[in-house]
């Protein structure tokens, strides 16, 4: 059976797992198998094409794959000048919606931003979008309100714990993904801070866990990213030339935490 390879160093993390689910949906419906691969050995795997998720394959490896003539698509990643299509969440629109919700609908003004991994394109765009929105609403925020969570539960928890203990006033928190958002919720509740009465908590991306926790999110369906990337790759395997960056529409889902 023809096979698509997926490069993801952390295939079991929630983010990658959902993206890979989406890839499988499309690939298997078109009789392609999906195989998680170690990027360094891609040339031995007899693959029709490769999808690389996030920043987990180094840029020079991606160039090598492309130069070897293997169809390649990227999810949540872009490499300057590399002529392959990619799919990324609509980071600018998503953050703009979250900020608008907090400031206009919930009257918040001291917003902490819990960011992702500095080297990853979604993290960079979401933080840049947040800074732009602060300008738009004329809000001055010290750098101490920008926390680093690296898209990891424990790192995010420590960052929020430290901030909460610093006694700097805040009334909202935006987490750059729902994993960190859920972590922040736990920390704030343990610290005796009432959500949403004292602090609204919102996050980027949505899933069943976020729904159960009542987390307000802006939903860019992760499996949808995988499906789009699979569509791109399968088209290229069929000989259709595709270039550009695809982003998906998203919506604000207001729940208990805001």
């Amino acid at each position: 059976m023809p096979t698509i390879g997926v490069i993801s160093q952390t295939p079991d993390n929630l983010y990658s797992a959902q993206v890979i689910d989406g890839i499988r949906d499309i690939a298997e419906s078109r009789d392609f198998a999906v195989s998680k691969i170690d990027g360094q050995h891609y040339h031995t795997a007899n693959l029709q094409g490769i999808i690389a998720i996030a920043h987990e394959a180094p840029d020079d490896l991606l160039w090598q794959i492309h130069n070897d003539g293997i169809p390649l698509a990227l999810v949540s990643h872009q490499v300057p000048d590399l002529p392959v299509p990619s799919v990324i969440p609509n980071n600018w629109l998503g953050i703009a919606r979250l900020v608008e919700h907090l400031i206009v609908e919930r009257n918040r003004s001291r917003i902490v931003f819990l960011g992702g991994l500095k080297s990853q394109v979604d993290a960079v765009q979401r933080e840049a979008a947040f800074r732009d929105e602060l300008l738009r609403y004329h809000i001055t925020q010290p750098e101490s309100y920008f926390l680093r969570g690296n898209f990891e539960r424990d790192v995010a928890a420590r960052a929020v714990e430290e901030f909460a203990a610093s006694n700097q006033p805040f009334d909202a928190l935006i987490a750059a993904d729902h994993i960190m958002g859920l972590s922040a919720l736990e920390v704030l509740r343990e610290a005796g801070i009432h959500v949403p009465k004292q602090v609204s908590v919102v996050a980027f991306d949505d899933n069943e866990q976020a729904r159960r926790a009542g987390l307000t999110t802006v939903a860019g369906e992760l499996a949808g990213l995988g499906r789009c990337a699979a569509n791109q790759l399968l088209a290229m395997i069929r000989g259709i030339e595709v270039l550009g960056v695809t982003t998906l529409g998203l919506q604000l889902i207001v729940r208990r935490t805001s």
Binding site: D132, R136, N231, V242, G244, G249
Partner: protein, 388 residues
Amino acid sequence: MESFAVNQSEIIQKATQGQLKVHNRELLLRAIYSGEINNRAALAQLTNLTKGTVSLLIAELMDEGYLIETGLGQVQEGPGKPPRLLRFVPTARQVIGLSINSERIEGVLANLDGQVAVYHKHLIGDRKGSEVVDLLQKVINGLVIQQSAQLLSIGIGSEGILDTQNGIIINLPSLGWRELPLGSLLSEHYGVPVYLANSTQLVAVGEYVFGKAIRSSGIAVVSVNDSVGVGLLLNRASYENGNDIGEFRLSHVPLKEALSWQHVKDRIHELRRSYPATVLPETNLTYLHLNYASAQGDPVALRIYDELAETLATIFVWIIMLHRPDYLSLVGQIADLGALLLDKITLKMQDSISRQLINSTILLLDSSPDLIPIGAVAHVLHLELGIV
């Protein structure tokens, strides 16, 4: 001669009947799409078509997937069967809307209600001529491959001089396009109708159909991007037009220069010497920085606002005087300057026209990047289905 005359009249009759059928389909679709009417009897009443004609056309539209029945309604008065309710199916087809300018090609794949399923874009870089056409096809491919329904049509918004009737880009120097039959080229490749229109005009169409100007009697749009454009949709959409006015000179300077981002940056650079304590950053400056700085009372920012407002007020005054639109929207990244810009434009306009006249038009701002592709979608829905 006689047989020729008979043939001609048969041809004319068939053409007229064909057009009539299209017209009637559009009438029915529009009534159901708008939510005005949802059953056959009411459609017949509204349109003055016979019940038989309505039923035939509805059956056709249902076969094609545009309409479904959703159950039984209530009997309005007297005896009779309850009507079978009809609903428009926005996912029956999808439409691609595109925007092309000197920097990028961007597009949307949308359902028939304007809901965007997917956005897609690519920078043009140094490409010119046929390289841009090649890139355009690769971007369109990026949308086509994400389809979840049959593609109805493609709409394209562009600047430059266009022959929109024949889908030809007559002259667009920034892309090295001259006498390019873009419409037919793409139509042949993708097997669907392709419609071309002025970008700013499409913004007006999009705002009228899906945006803030829904059900108004008209909207005018001023766009500031590579150049300056004006788009009009007036008299309940009976008149629409759009054109580039970037070459028009105010105080000897073309509008597209006077309102350009480069000009703004150059002015800021000059004004820094007089106001070295400005809060505006030296690098990575954006309109949002100006917005923020103006709220801090920064003199450089406020001066820029005044200068831009002066120029824009002149354009706005002419549009309001000539056309009296319900809405006048300023679009493009310049809209990130925010409400203060509109306040200053309003003040400047009072030098030329009465407050009453100014207040008869609602001023809007919109910096969304997808206005042109969404407008292209609305344009296509109007031309292909007549539903908007």
